[in-house]
Amino acid sequence: MSISVFLVDDHALFLSGVRAELGDDFDVVGQSSDVDDAISDILDTQPDVVLVDVHMPGGGGHAVISNVMERTPEVKFLALSVSDAPDDVIAMIRAGARGYITKSIAAGELGTAIKRIHDGDAVFSPRLAGFVLDAFAGTVQAPLDPELDQLTNREKEVLRLIARGFAYKQVARKLDISIKTVETHVSSVLRKLQLSNRHELTRWASDRRIV
């Protein structure tokens, strides 16, 4: 059975483009162009994966994510955007998105990303990896939770390789580890990103009023 996908984006052109792109391999069960519709339609259709734009009229993509996740945590979100601003992206991840890609992503890679999200893994684009390294840069004086507030050296290595443009498979080969291990590291980074109380992260999040 193919993965069911729901699209949330207020740009009609982009919606139809993605729809055509995913058509054969995925089951596109619906699309919405504003926050409130998106929330009710996603709750109705219960898709496997939701592609959600960062910038949306009426609350932004993170409003969709947090509202849906409250009721059905099993729906998975992949954020996509043309936006560069780190706070927007971090806000999406903090709200519960399992990955972030830019809209300029190549057609084949979008499908790979959706499958990866569906399998419960995280999808880090080079740009997101850069943001995360930035957010976790430096050491925290007396971290509240050392487990969550810092990245391990291995995680940093993985993120650096992703930021350098390597795919997970290449990262695995470079570090001489399995792809599964790479995925584990990335998922662990995602968890820290969502749960850490690091000042840099909470500042971004509270600017967006999602914490």
Partner: protein
């Protein structure tokens, strides 16, 4: 005299301070009961006040006249629904109004004879008052409409209307007191202090009465200015989009080559993004921005996509600048020789060092067999980095793409 025709209630009437002359409850022209309504007290008190002031050199009459000129009459009280039909003044009412006007004129005339100075100043005051009323009525058309609309549609709360009435009442009272002091003081020419006090009190009263109007005028002006700034910003935006995005879109439509279209779109995207995020083309001594613009220039000159990720930032110094130049050279090399369509550039500023990776997934080459004619790598990259105390490692294998790794220790300041 510029007395407004009585018996007309319409939104085009003069401003009222929330006070209408009540035609259904009046002794002379209904001003007292109208004022009483606005303040929320019994009309008898207001009438008593007017009568009492009449006793003070006939001031009550003068103020009644002023109040009369500055208000319009209402069929019923001001709080009623606007759908009430506007009843034209009946001949009897008109006669009564004219009669009242004549009576006031007589009173004024009589006063001017008995006390000479009051005749002169009351005339001046009356004229000024009517002049002000007319001026106001003319200059204030928009606000007046808004105001009367608010009043008639009942959009104001009971509280705000009461406040307005109270303010007008208190202000009016202060003006009365002030003028009374003024007149009595000039009468006996007792002291300059009393005149000053009178001026102060009168001024306070005027502030109370006119304050809200002036505030409204001021905030309207401010709003207008803000609107103008907004529209100027819109024009700037439109101009910018026209010069950049629209031109590129036109180019893309004319282009038959998908790759060229993609490049055009990318260049435009980068340009627009840097504009949106406030980057004005000046690196400002920032390493990250220098890397970004190096990538942008390679993208433009060599028709290749360059993905840049930067972590941290630092000021440019000769060493760091060398890294930027070497990185640019590495990008140009990759663009020319790798055959890849996308380059990745990752620049990281750590506490100790600055690192840049320029990575492509292209054809790669055998690093052991670099030709001498490829000066780019040996001179511009390796030698340049060595000169500044840094290093350049080139990692490549045929078919495996190429990665150039530049690093330099940060100079201690």
């Amino acid at each position: 005299m510029a007395t407004p025709a009585s018996g007309q209630l319409s939104s085009a009437g003069p401003p009222n301070f929330g006070v209408y002359r009540r035609r259904d409850d009046r002794v002379v022209a209904g001003l007292a009961s109208g004022m009483a309504d606005a303040v929320g007290i019994d009309a008898a008190y207001v009438r008593a006040a007017f009568v009492a002031l009449l006793a003070v050199s006939g001031l009550g009459g003068l103020f009644y006249l002023i109040g009369w000129a500055m208000t319009s009459s209402s069929v019923v009280d001001a709080r009623s629904v606007p759908s009430d039909p506007i009843v034209p003044a009946s001949p009897i009412e008109r006669h009564r109004t004219i009669g009242a006007g004549l009576a006031f004129g007589g009173v004024l005339l009589a006063l001017s004879h008995t006390v000479l100075w009051l005749g002169a100043s009351s005339g001046a005051v009356t004229l000024t008052a009517f002049g002000l009323a007319t001026l106001w009525a003319r200059s204030d058309r928009v606000q007046r409409t808004r105001w009367t609309n608010a009043l008639l549609r009942g959009e104001w709360t009971e509280k705000s209307r009461r406040e307005l009435g109270l303010r007008a009442g208190a202000g009016g009272f202060l003006i009365l007191v002030g003028l009374t002091i003024l007149f009595t003081a000039t009468d006996t020419l007792r002291s300059v202090g009393a005149v000053l006090l009178a001026a102060l009190v009168t001024g306070g009263g005027l502030m109370l009465v006119l304050g809200p109007w002036m505030y409204r005028l001021w905030s309207d002006l401010r709003e207008e200015r803000r609107e103008r700034i907004r529209s100027e910003e819109r024009e700037d935006l439109a101009a910018h989009l026209h010069d950049s995005v629209l031109q590129t879109l036109a180019l893309i439509q004319r282009s038959k080559n998908p790759e060229e279209q993609a490049i055009l779109a990318r260049i435009q995207e980068r340009e627009l993004r840097s504009w949106l995020f406030g980057y004005n083309g000046d690196n400002g001594g920032s390493f990250a921005k220098a890397i970004e613009s190096a990538a942008a220039s390679v993208e433009r000159d060599h028709q290749i996509a360059v993905d840049v990720v930067t972590v941290g930032d630092c000021d440019l110094d000769p060493g760091v600048d060398a890294v930027v130049k070497a990185a640019r050279e590495a990008m140009v090399n990759a663009a020319k020789h790798s055959g890849a369509r996308i380059l990745s550039v990752f620049a990281e500023v750590d506490t100790g060092e600055v690192e840049v990776f320029v990575t492509d997934q292209g054809i790669g080459f055998d690093t052991a067999a670099v030709n001498d004619d490829r000066h780019g790598i040996s001179d511009s990259i390796v030698a340049r980095m060595a000169r500044h105390g840094g290093s350049a490692d080139i990692d490549s294998e045929p078919g495996e793409g190429t990665e150039v790794h530049l690093r330099i220790a940060r100079s201690v300041r």
